[in-house]
């Protein structure tokens, strides 16, 4: 069963707030000069920021469930411009699970391109 896709916008200010809240102060997420110095196209969102958005969508879709496993590969960076923001779309497909577990196969895209590799959450009723 397909779940209603959720769209989120990431701004540079969000990344600064996330760096403080998460303790991940890698400057590639906040400083354009450092990001380009290591060969990145610009400031990129923390991979964990994008995965947190995926987890938000899952929590919205399944408010009565708790997460058993959650994971992904970070396959493509989300470049966040200095002005405006970067849009990320989280889509999900609910699969039948075993032992009362629900598996949610996620698709997370930015500008039509997948940015997470095989993102998936397994849930159980809380």
């Amino acid at each position: 069963m397909s779940l209603e896709p959720r769209t989120f916008t990431i701004t540079r200010a969000d990344l600064v707030a996330y760096a403080a809240a998460s303790g991940d102060h890698n400057p590639i997420h906040t400083d354009e000069a450092v990001a380009t110095s290591v060969g990145l196209p610009g400031v990129i969102a923390h991979g964990m920021y994008t995965l947190a958005l995926a987890a938000r969508a899952v929590a919205d879709w399944f408010p009565e469930h708790e997460v058993v496993t959650l994971g992904c590969k970070f396959t493509s960076p989300v470049v966040v411009p200095a002005e405006g923001g970067a849009e990320v779309v989280v889509a999900g497909e609910e699969k039948g699970g075993e032992d009362g577990l629900t598996t949610v196969a996620l698709t997370v895209t930015h500008e039509g391109q997948k940015v997470l590799g095989m993102p998936k959450a397994v849930l159980r009723r809380a």
């Binding site: 403080a20 290591v38 060969g39 947190a52 929590a59 708790e66 997460v67 496993t69 959450a121």
Partner: protein, 135 residues
């Protein structure tokens, strides 16, 4: 400089206990555009303590954080994190490969509560970009 292969299998000292306050939960949720109003922490919240363990490991190995790109992250939860938890992460280096001058470092961190009970296990793959990878 490549990471020393002899680190595979090494565990690093546990991080200092991290108190999970309502303020920390609210700040984490707000930073990702959401709101925490009680109940379980956002699912990715244990990254806060896992990241501290990773930072200590990178410092010990003299790896500059800005040369690290996150390759993969997986969480397996025993229970959700809740306000009042005191979390500690213990990181073990599980694998190391060198591809195209980059180090691909596999780590696993066990996140435990104040009683020592396991809250979640989280695996991370870190890509250490070599000096020559500049554009």
């Amino acid at each position: 400089m490549p990471v020393d292969p002899s680190i595979v299998g090494r565990s690093f000292p546990p991080t200092r206990p991290y108190p999970v306050t309502a303020e920390a939960l609210r700040a984490f949720a707000a930073a990702t555009g959401g709101a925490w109003t009680g109940g379980p922490a956002p699912a990715t919240f244990p990254i806060v303590t896992a990241f501290e363990a990773m930072n200590a490991f990178l410092e010990a190995e003299q790896v500059a954080l800005h040369r690290i790109v996150h390759g993969e992250q997986r969480f397996a939860y025993e229970r959700p994190v809740v306000e009042g938890d005191e979390l500690t992460a213990t990181l073990t280096v599980t694998s190391l490969r060198q591809i195209g001058g980059n180090d691909i470092i596999g780590t696993t961190s066990e996140v435990t509560d104040a009683t020592g009970a396991l809250v979640c296990t989280t695996g991370a793959t870190l890509v250490h970009r070599a000096d020559g990878s500049e554009a």
